[in-house]
């Protein structure tokens, strides 16, 4: 089973501060994703990546940057955190459609911006 590990599990940040959420996957998947989950919206895609060095905008990229320095690691960066970015963030990896694998999710990071 693919392993996707997120850190930290919980984070409290101040408005205007910089926040970095980290994600590591150990199954050599090409594709990685960052979603946020909010009540009434389900999960929405922020950024994704096809492989090391690539980052692409998802459906709600404003206020976020992403970095994919290696196959295993994908970070989500909030340069100037705002209270509206308080949410639960999920990282996922997968290799569709190459291998017909499904998406694998991390356990989530609960971010509170005060």
């Amino acid at each position: 089973e693919a392993a996707v590990t997120q850190s930290p599990r919980n984070k409290v940040a101040v408005t205007g501060g910089k926040v970095t959420l980290s994600c590591n996957q150990t199954n050599n998947h090409n594709n990685m994703y960052w979603y946020r989950q909010d009540t009434g919206h389900g999960l929405r895609l922020i950024h994704y990546s096809y492989g090391a060095g690539s980052t692409e905008k998802g459906d709600i990229p404003d206020g976020y940057k992403a970095s994919r320095p290696s196959q295993e690691n994908f970070s989500l960066i909030l340069e100037l955190a705002t209270p509206s970015q308080t949410s639960v963030y999920f990282c996922a990896s997968g290799d569709l459609p190459v291998s017909n694998e499904r998406l694998f999710f991390g356990h989530g990071t609960k971010l509170s911006v005060l």
Binding site: G42, L103, G108
Partner: protein, 111 residues
């Protein structure tokens, strides 16, 4: 607008009963994946379908192979441990692998 409409938004079932969840898509989708989110917030993958049906124990999922615009998740003989929030995620026919999530069905199984 929302690409995926999931219903019902909430559901209560007595133990031992059967029910079905449904996701309708505003456009043709390439595939669908169903998840259950447990009380700790973890997303557990239940099924991934590019077409047809899959079954695992008391759960069975189907993806409309003809028009590819809806999917169902059937729960048979509901148990207390089935409680949680269920999400469907549909993969769009775009150039990149993007899954659109429904807003979830909160399922409570009652003794």
């Amino acid at each position: 607008g929302d690409q995926v409409e999931q219903s019902p938004s909430a559901l209560s079932l007595h133990e031992g009963t059967d029910s079905a969840l449904r996701c309708n898509f505003t456009t043709t989708m390439r595939s669908v994946q169903w998840f259950r989110q447990n009380s700790r917030g973890s997303l557990i993958s239940l099924f991934y379908l590019a077409s047809g049906t899959k079954e695992n124990g008391r759960l069975k999922s189907a993806f409309d192979s003809k028009e590819r615009r809806y999917s169902t998740l059937h729960i048979r003989d509901a148990q207390l441990e089935d409680s949680g929030t269920y999400f469907c995620a549909a993969e769009a026919n775009t150039g990149y692998q993007n899954f659109y999530f429904g807003k979830g069905t909160s399922l409570t199984v009652i003794p």
